[in-house]
């Protein structure tokens, strides 16, 4: 990826926009939320949290999940996810709560809504199309072959 060249750099520039004036602050910029860089003690719960974090978008970065970003907001969101999972909340409930607050943008797993239905219609159409294409190509001919 030229991810580096573009999205990531653009993201860094955006994210570090505040820091350019005060480069010395860079260290303090990391999130200090309790579970930003700390795993849950229960491995099963940590895995649940990790799976969820990988599908949530860091709102400050360019195209990164909160599970792979050093941005402060990603840290805070990681901490929030871990705390809620630890409190026994279901991952999908946390996702819905975040979507309610930040909009669909925050979740990498699109829900089926009035806006996103084409995303799910397209694969279905592609399956159908592939089927028809292959049938047209071979279906008729199998008959032909049968007759011959």
């Amino acid at each position: 990826m030229m991810r580096a060249a573009y999205s990531f750099v653009a993201g860094m520039v955006l994210a570090l926009g505040l820091a350019t004036g005060t480069p010395g602050m860079a260290q303090e910029e990391r999130s200090t939320a309790p579970y930003a860089y700390r795993q849950l003690d229960d491995p099963a719960k940590e895995e649940q949290a990790q799976d969820l974090m990988e599908t949530l978008r860091c709102l400050q970065c360019q195209g990164q999940s909160i599970a792979d970003s050093d941005a402060p907001i990603a840290g805070s969101m990681r901490s929030l996810v871990r705390e809620r999972i630890a409190a026994g909340e279901e991952p999908e409930a946390i996702r819905s709560w975040l979507i309610e607050r930040y909009g669909d943008y925050v979740s990498y797993a699109p829900r089926i809504t009035g806006l996103t239905w084409p995303l799910f219609a397209v694969p279905a159409v592609l399956v159908l199309l592939a089927f028809l294409l292959l049938r047209r190509r071979f279906g008729a001919k199998a008959d032909e072959g049968g007759e011959a």
């Binding site: 990826m1 030229m2 580096a4 195209g63 792979d68 050093d70 990498y108 806006l115 995303l119 397209v122």
Partner: protein, 654 residues
Amino acid sequence: MIAELGLAALWLAAALAALQLVSGSLGLTRRGTAMSGVVRPLAVVQGLLALLAFGCLIYVFAVTDLSVKLVAANSHSMKPLVFKIAGAWGNHEGSMLLWVTVMGMAGAVVALVEKRLPEPTMLATLAGQAFVSLGFYAFLLLSSNPFERLSPVPPEGNGLNPLLQDLGLAFHPPTLYLGYVGLSVAFSFAIGALITREVGPAFARAMRPWVLGAWIFLTIGITAGSYWAYYELGWGGWWFWDPVENASLMPWLAATALLHSASVLASRNALRAWTIMLGVVAFSMSMIGTFLVRSGILTSVHAFAVDPERGTFILGLLAIYIGGALTLFALRAATVTEGKRFALVSREGALVFNNVMLSAILGIVLFGTLYPLLAEAMGAKVSVGPPYFNPMSALFAVPMLVVLAVGPLLRWRRDKFARVGKALVIPAMLVAVAGIAVVMIGGVSLLPFLGLVLAVGLAWASFLPLRDRNLRRTPLPVWGMVIAHFGIAVALFGMSCESAFTVEKLVAVRTGDITEVGPWGVKLDAIEPVAGPNWTALEARLLVRYGPDGKVTRMLPQSRSFWAPPQQTSESALLTRWNGQLYAVLGGEGEDGRWQLRLWWKPFVPLIWIGGLLIALGGVFALIGRVKSDVRRLVAKGRIADRHEGEAQLGMRP
């Protein structure tokens, strides 16, 4: 002075491209045949001029001529020389110049070596190539002049983003560009063949080396980019379904399909229309990729709307080329028949199936990448990421991989499963055994499970085409196919293992503390400051050990601070064993004096990139094999021609 020389060369090259287009087109008409002789020389000189312009740009970057705006904006006198030079194409203008240079050189090579096609088809092809180049010259000269001067001359340049100051990355964009441009040659061949109604095996053979070459570069580019993201971004991820990654994946998918359908056309004279269509699609994907990356639309649709010049230009070019090609295709479609017919159970049948599957995956990646942009234009923001792309592409990838195991064993035209069934018993058993083993290990979700079992079966099946062959006399392209298919199995195994068995550990430790991740014990031995040419860093000395009595090894992850421009990066440290990689990153210092460490044990993860390289290596074998037999045929033809001439001269012909 050098900058002006470069600009002049660029204008001249553009003028020659225009001339090449006109004379090539005229050469096709009855009255213009006189013009046809100049087309090839024009293509060669045009390529050399573009190369000269690119050389000039490299020179101004190498000497850091700050009176050139592009250098001042992207370079710095204190940078190591190799990064100064790489900086020449690490920006928008320079990378577009690289694009036209590679395109010009490719046109020159086609003009010099391609002698198999009928002359009119060659003229149409070179005219098509000139037409495409002309658009990019216009783009460069009118909206992104790389040689623009700056006054007053600044005392120092802005520097290059430290993330980009990496050897792998310096050569990553050129690799992808070589791929994109190779597909532009395939596109020109398709146009040439369509215009002159010469869609047949000869066209496919002429196009194939270019598609193969493009595909090899794309494969290497994607593999290298993925590894770069893996070690440089510091979070252990290797593929993000990021739009910029998808921009390089889409042409690859199209080129993979094109490669296979071109070989059906070359050896069986079937799939004519489909091959032409894929030729057009593959280049469209290159251009869409360029548009996505270059227009700034990815940062935000609004950023694009504020400064739409570049993006609109590329979109305009895209519309002209693709719209034009499709119109031509529609006009000619009636005269391009599908060619020879074949049964479902045949080599062609399997290849068609996989072509359709690849196209469907391409459709999903394309739509999933563009939809957020569409939605944003309509006023809503959505994200489409791995939870969408993984299952949706697997929907088509899984049947494709199954057919991939069988297809190469089938005969052309018509075959029976019963004939190849016996050979597939072992891979089928391997799949079953692997399935049971993974279920017993437990905790593996569906996609990695499917990936693991398919990888095991495919690894064996990929060698089956060699089973009845004399290995010494097996043609190189067959070896190429076997290696590339085996590479897919290897990469798939790596991906699935990474996804299923990675162990992650985030800890805060004091010097002297020991922590464990998977089978590894990790001790933070010391934290020390170190300095590089344009950065300072804190370096952690980690002592690591595999198992309770393994050898103790040092790992040195760093947290670096660059000063031009000021930025922090984490340099991860990797330790590779035969069965995986240990990945260590040094984070920040906590208030209580403890240090953040991020550690991952990733079993078999290097196989992802080893597999990618094997795929590319297979391509190289196939390319060498094809080019060798092409050369042999050319030489033989020359000899026969000579003999005929000699016989004629001696008056010995009956």
